[in-house]
């Protein structure tokens, strides 16, 4: 890695080829950015502007009414809080469970741990979306639908295999020597894990937090199945209700999109450094 950085700073030659690449990537980025710009642009337009003015023009003024309507229609104070609770609790528990499991799997040569690893991997090969029906049925039979606990347990169950996989591939970055000396000093396994290993896993935990957060935050299929009570609904489910109203007034829906995407973008921005490093660990090690 370090070599690469040195090299990159050394080869700052800007040739014709580089210029062509630069132009190409600029065009690509603009194309990728158009839908986002349009969403933001339209979320500030009044209904009158929607019909009368040029559709591609910028709004005449920042019209916040759409955001206020979206806030009411989404029942934002409830749905936002629900989504936040489900996401935050699931992700924290996942980080704890997966980190501990992965560490045990990496350190023990006993058959049980080898079996566990392969067992967890089944969950990566079979995405839970393919099993939404039986997961829903078992949730229903255990009385876990329409309950906060049920939703959280379901997100943990469906996220655990990816988490273990991710964390295990990070384990080689944790030096065994530190743990051994702590064990010799008489620390229990638990203490060694929480005081020595976990602090070293920060980048891995950050990666897991982002990857799982945006999956759970954005989930529609399971959230829609597990919850029918209004007071437990998530943001995405509320948004679908807003989208499916076949009205020509879609500026409210676009304002709702901006509101729903913002938290996850902020989370990504603040943890980006870890994330880019972390999500690629698997890709490099295979």
């Amino acid at each position: 890695m370090k070599n690469r950085v040195l090299m990159a700073s050394g080869k700052e030659k800007y040739t014709v080829g580089t210029l062509i690449t630069q132009i190409f990537m600029t065009i690509v980025s603009i194309l990728f950015f158009i839908p986002i710009i349009m969403v933001i642009n339209y979320s500030f337009k009044t209904k009158k502007e929607l019909y009368l003015s040029n559709p591609l023009a910028l709004p005449e003024s920042f019209y916040f009414e759409n955001y206020i309507t979206a806030y009411k229609k989404l029942d934002l104070s409830t749905t936002f809080l629900n989504t936040l609770i489900y996401t935050a609790i699931s992700v924290v528990i996942l980080a704890l469970l997966c980190g501990a499991s992965a560490w045990a799997i990496a350190r023990c040569k006993h058959k049980f741990f080898k079996f566990s690893y392969v067992y967890f991997l089944v969950g990566i090969l079979i995405p839970y979306q393919a099993l939404f029906l039986p997961i829903y049925i078992i949730g229903f039979r255990l009385g876990l639908t329409n309950s906060r606990l049920g939703i959280i347990l379901m997100y943990i169950a469906t996220g655990v295999s990816f988490g273990v996989f991710l964390m295990t591939s990070f384990m080689s970055t944790v030096p065994v020597e530190l743990e051994e000396s702590s064990r010799i000093d008489g620390c229990s396994i638990y203490r060694t894990y929480f005081s020595i290993v976990m602090p070293l896993l920060k980048p891995a935990i950050a990666t897991l937090v982002i990857m799982q957060s945006f999956q759970i935050w954005n989930d529609y299929l399971m959230a829609n199945l597990f919850v029918s009570k209004k007071s437990l609904k998530t943001l995405t489910v509320a948004m679908q209700a807003l989208f499916s109203q076949r009205t020509t007034d879609y500026t409210t829906a676009l304002a709702a999109i901006v509101i729903s995407v913002l938290p996850i973008v902020i989370l990504f921005m603040s943890l980006q450094k870890y994330f880019v490093k972390g999500m690629t660990v698997g890709a490099i090690k295979g």
Binding site: P35, A130, W217, V265, A283
Partner: protein, 293 residues
């Protein structure tokens, strides 16, 4: 040394670290598979207490059902196109970002950003792009391009592919980019000394070194595309007609809306088997290539 410290007590403690996840995973994912298999042998409607046993009838029906066939044809087309398009463009953009161009960070962020958005929302954004925003371009440019891609059974796949690729190319691009950046520069230097052209360097150094990234991206995109569902919920609703009904969409319609839990379970089991098969074939095939290279 490690073996001797691993006494019984420590072993039990280690096991206790794995156990909670193990149990939740078993109840939440493994038991459902087993349960689904049993339900698939019945004609249960999801409501009644009794579940009439019908043997393999649901599976026989599965192979004869034209709706199931259409759903699979759509899903497979979507998957094959996605796997090709996403890999090609993700790698292309990654190579471009690995060169000495400026503003890399901005390009990277812009292209990556869409994957943070829910597929449900992506579907809605593109529905509005095609039906309201892009047609305005026609007026502006005086052209007559048909942007209503979701309105016609022939173009709906193209429309969904554009939306899906807009969302995911950036994600796989980041993986390729990291893999590119981890290739030791010595390899390129020695290739230069041997007089290799940039193209030969790409084929003989870059591509082999990217083998693990290829495995991750190809398997990830394929399995991801086979389970497409949310993208259609707010955009096409599986239509027009049934033109964009994916397999998960069809299971949802059959089981949840149509109250055929037994038959829906059989469809789920078949999807699981096919996903497992595809992933295994790809992993074995791609890993073999990794070793050879």
């Amino acid at each position: 040394m490690r073996k001797s410290t691993l006494n019984r007590k420590a072993l039990i403690q280690y096991v206790s670290l794995v156990l909670p996840g193990f149990i939740i995973f078993t109840i939440g994912l493994i038991i459902p598979i087993i349960l689904a298999f049993f339900y698939s042998l019945t004609s249960w409607n999801g409501m009644t207490a009794e579940k009439p046993f019908v043997g393999m009838e649901n599976y026989v029906k599965f192979f004869k059902d034209p709706y199931v066939r259409d759903a699979w044809v759509f899903t497979l087309k979507f998957t094959i196109y996605n796997t090709i398009i996403q890999n090609v463009f993700a790698l292309l953009f990654a190579v471009a970002l690995d060169s000495s161009i400026r503003l890399k960070k901005i390009y990277r962020t812009v292209i990556f950003m869409p994957c943070l958005i829910s597929a449900l929302v992506v579907g809605f954004i593109w529905l509005r792009m095609y039906s309201n925003i892009l047609p305005a371009l026609n007026k502006l440019l005086g052209t007559n391009i048909n942007f209503l891609l979701f309105g016609d059974g022939k173009t709906v796949l193209t429309g969904l592919l554009i939306a899906n690729n807009w969302q995911w190319i950036g994600y796989w691009m980041l993986i390729y980019l990291a893999a590119l950046q981890s290739i030791p520069s010595e390899l390129y230097e020695s290739a230069s000394i041997d007089g290799a052209s940039p193209f030969r360097k790409f084929i003989n150094v870059t591509v082999p070194m990217l083998a693990p990234a290829f495995t991750i991206c190809i398997v990830g995109i394929t399995t991801g595309s086979l389970k497409v569902y949310e993208l259609m919920v707010s955009s096409t609703g599986g239509g027009p007609g049934r033109a964009s009904t994916s397999i998960i969409y069809h299971i949802y319609n059959t089981a949840i809306s149509g109250r055929q839990y037994g038959y829906g379970s059989a469809m789920s089991i078949m999807l699981v088997l096919i996903l497992l098969l595809v992933a295994m074939i790809q992993v074995v095939f791609l890993k073999k290539r990794e070793v050879q290279l």
